[in-house]
């Protein structure tokens, strides 16, 4: 193995390789910052370009895009309260309040270094313990997925703020939005009103744009009229001054990285869930949970560390088994196959040079997005000083063009508008929006896997319930759910 790593290193330090990584990282940061551009889309559209490159170079570029875009969604979340990618929704909860307090440089630095650490730890896992982790990931069947979704939903109490009912209502509405479209097993159309654009459900990115961009613009107009201004960045310090603060949160970094890697290796769960769960974990184990949501550094670090730890995690089943865990890696699989490479054991022996140089390039990408991101962020910080009368229309135009571009469909602009209306209503009545995103992300999984679990035991409900307790992993998740619920209720009672 070590000779393979050495072989990878010799391949890595070539001009074309490093240029490809740098190009991928810069492109990825841009893709992540702009809501409406997703890593999936970026990678899918760049694959035809990479196939004229040597495989190692092409893959390194795609990897750079993937890692950098997962990180940089935090920049727009922190500065504008609009998540650039679904993974940044949990970052926004504490990142934007920090900006409001005039600590945007600090928030950005925390997010950047957290992402870097999470990413690096997950690539270490990919490099050294991928095969056993991949085998473990296959043991997740429908009952486990169903319980995992339930466990994710219990996180809502951590995202709810003062009134837990409001958070739960938001979560249930999010779950409802996820049921729009065809039933995952029967194909029956629900709430579609014969509009073909709704048959596949509402696209997550389109709904995120609506849910955050539109209320933010409305808020800008209101505060503009009242003459209220967001505080400028008052701590104009060097972002590297905050590196010790991040390193100091050792426990948080390790916990969030582990959560991220675990979520990453389980196919079909994804970056945003990793962020939410790590945020929840940080809040639960914090001595001052009431500070979360008001600009707490641990929240930003947890969410960002975890969502970048997911990236390495998702590559584990991808490279060792050829099993993609999320839409991005599904597209990445296409990018690997296009070079005639076959994921699996063969990839690590016959094509060891390519696969090891790819893994090592991920280390470089994870480190390289730090300067690129911080440089970009330095200029993006000025966005909050741009007059609202210019910023607001620009965000709206981006929201409209971005929602159109996801599927090349004008109908998606109207879907974005509908979700934007929901977002406005929620903001107006002071309802947290993060639980709604969580519901939207987990809904299809909860519903689909429940029906699938039942289909697998031929509709026998008792057999299904028995499975939940007797299958080892599902029993563990069941216990976690119970603990999470119990803790949430206890916290709620203590607060009242």
């Amino acid at each position: 193995m070590f000779e393979n790593i050495l072989l990878g290193i010799t391949l890595l330090f070539s001009l074309s390789m490093l240029t490809a990584i740098a190009g991928g990282v810069v492109g990825g940061v841009l893709i992540g910052v702009l809501p409406g551009l997703t890593s999936t889309m970026g990678i899918a559209l760049l694959i035809p370009i990479t196939f004229s490159m040597p495989p190692a170079v092409g893959l390194a570029m795609l990897g750079g895009i993937y890692l950098a875009s997962t990180y940089s969604g935090a920049i727009s979340a922190i500065l504008l309260n609009i998540p650039g990618t679904p993974a940044a929704v949990a970052t926004l909860l504490d990142g934007h309040p920090m900006t409001k307090k005039g600590q945007s440089t600090r928030a950005l630095a925390l997010a950047t270094f957290g992402s870097c650490v999470g990413g690096l730890i997950s690539v270490l896992a990919l490099l050294f313990i991928a095969p056993p982790l991949a085998e473990f990931s296959l043991r997740f069947g429908s009952p486990e997925y169903f319980l995992l979704a339930v466990f994710g939903i219990t996180v809502i109490s951590s995202l709810s703020g003062k009134d837990v009912e409001k958070g739960l209502i938001a979560g249930v509405i999010g779950l409802f939005l996820s049921t729009i479209g065809n039933h995952p097993l029967t194909g029956f159309m629900r709430f579609t009103y014969e509009i073909p654009a709704l048959y596949d459900g509402i696209p997550l990115v389109v709904s995120l744009i609506g849910l955050y961009s539109i209320p933010e613009v409305i808020d800008m107009l209101v505060t503009r009229a009242s003459g209220e201004k967001i505080k400028l960045d008052t701590d104009k310090s060097n972002p590297f001054a905050f590196l010790p603060e991040v390193i100091g949160q050792k426990l948080n970094l390790i916990r969030s990285s582990l959560i991220g890697i675990m979520i990453g290796i389980i196919p079909g769960v994804g970056c945003s869930i990793g962020g939410f769960m790590a945020y929840d974990g940080a809040k639960r184990s914090s001595k001052t949970p009431e500070k979360f949501g008001t600009g707490c550094s641990e929240g930003v670090v947890a969410s960002e560390t975890a969502n970048n730890a997911v990236t390495g995690g998702t590559l584990i089943p991808l490279l060792t088994l050829g099993v993609p865990g999320n839409p991005v890696t599904a597209v990445l699989l296409g990018g690997i196959m296009i070079h005639g490479l076959r994921p699996g054991a063969e990839l690590f022996t016959v094509n060891a040079d390519i696969v090891y140089s790819f893994i090592l390039s991920l280390f470089v990408s994870n480190i390289l997005f730090v300067p690129v991101g911080l440089f970009m962020a330095k200029y993006c910080v000025r966005l909050i000083q741009v007059p609202k009368s210019i910023l607001a229309p620009s965000i709206l135009a981006l929201a409209v063009v971005g929602s159109y571009a996801i599927r090349g469909s004008v109908d998606d602009i109207w879907i974005m508008l509908f979700v934007g209306f929901c977002g406005f209503v929620m903001q107006f009545f002071d309802i947290p929006r993060a639980p709604m995103v969580l519901g939207l992300v987990l809904g299809t999984m909860a519903e689909g896997e429940l029906s699938r679990s039942l289909a697998l035991v031929h509709g026998d409900v008792t057999a299904f319930l028995l499975q939940l307790v007797t299958r080892p992993i599902s029993a563990i998740i069941l216990i976690l759910c119970a603990i999470s619920l119990f803790q949430g209720i206890k916290q709620q009672l203590r607060r009242n």
Binding site: L168, F176, V222, V400, G420
Partner: protein, 168 residues
């Protein structure tokens, strides 16, 4: 005008905001439940459960709100909403109306004329409406942003522009 705002103020202060939300949620739950129960059970088990859950949560919120109100009344506090937050609320609703209308117009414009023209017109008009009154800057930003978005989405990422009726 002053009469109207006065009436609006009274309307909102009578209906506590949270209670409006809770009742709205209850109505939503009833509608969604009505829909969900009209679908076959094997395809709508999940939405059915959710609609019941949503209704229960809304009821719970209503009960908690009235308990809290009673408690506060017994302490002698009266719930008064001060005028400045009220006008802020109406301003939010008005701004929202404007934003939604503008997006509808922009979306229709995109399918009527083409992306470039629609975007430049939309950006310039919105900046003007939102109170930015420097024509040269407005013009250059509208054109610049349109070109930037064009480059990223339609040139680099190769997404096709929306099809429009009038121009290509």
């Amino acid at each position: 005008m002053s009469f109207e705002t006065n009436r609006q103020d009274r309307l909102i202060s009578r209906l506590n905001k949270d209670r409006v939300f809770a009742s709205g949620t209850l109505i939503l739950a009833a509608y969604l439940g009505y829909q969900a129960f009209s679908y076959p059970v094997e395809s709508a088990f999940f939405p059915r459960v959710l609609s019941v859950l949503l209704g229960l949560l809304a009821l719970l919120l209503i009960i908690r709100l009235s308990l809290r109100q009673r408690k506060e009344r017994s302490v002698g506090k009266t719930i008064e909403t001060d005028a400045s937050t009220l006008s802020a609320e109406w301003r939010a609703i008005r701004s929202a109306g404007m934003v939604f209308t503008s997006i509808i117009i922009y979306g229709l414009l995109l399918t009527l004329v083409n992306y470039e023209l629609a975007s430049i017109i939309y950006l310039a008009a919105m900046m003007l409406i939102f109170g930015f009154r420097r024509p040269v800057i407005t013009g250059s930003i509208s054109v610049g942003l349109t070109v930037l978005l064009y480059t990223i989405f339609f040139h680099l990422l190769g997404v096709s522009r929306p099809e429009s009726l009038l121009f290509m």
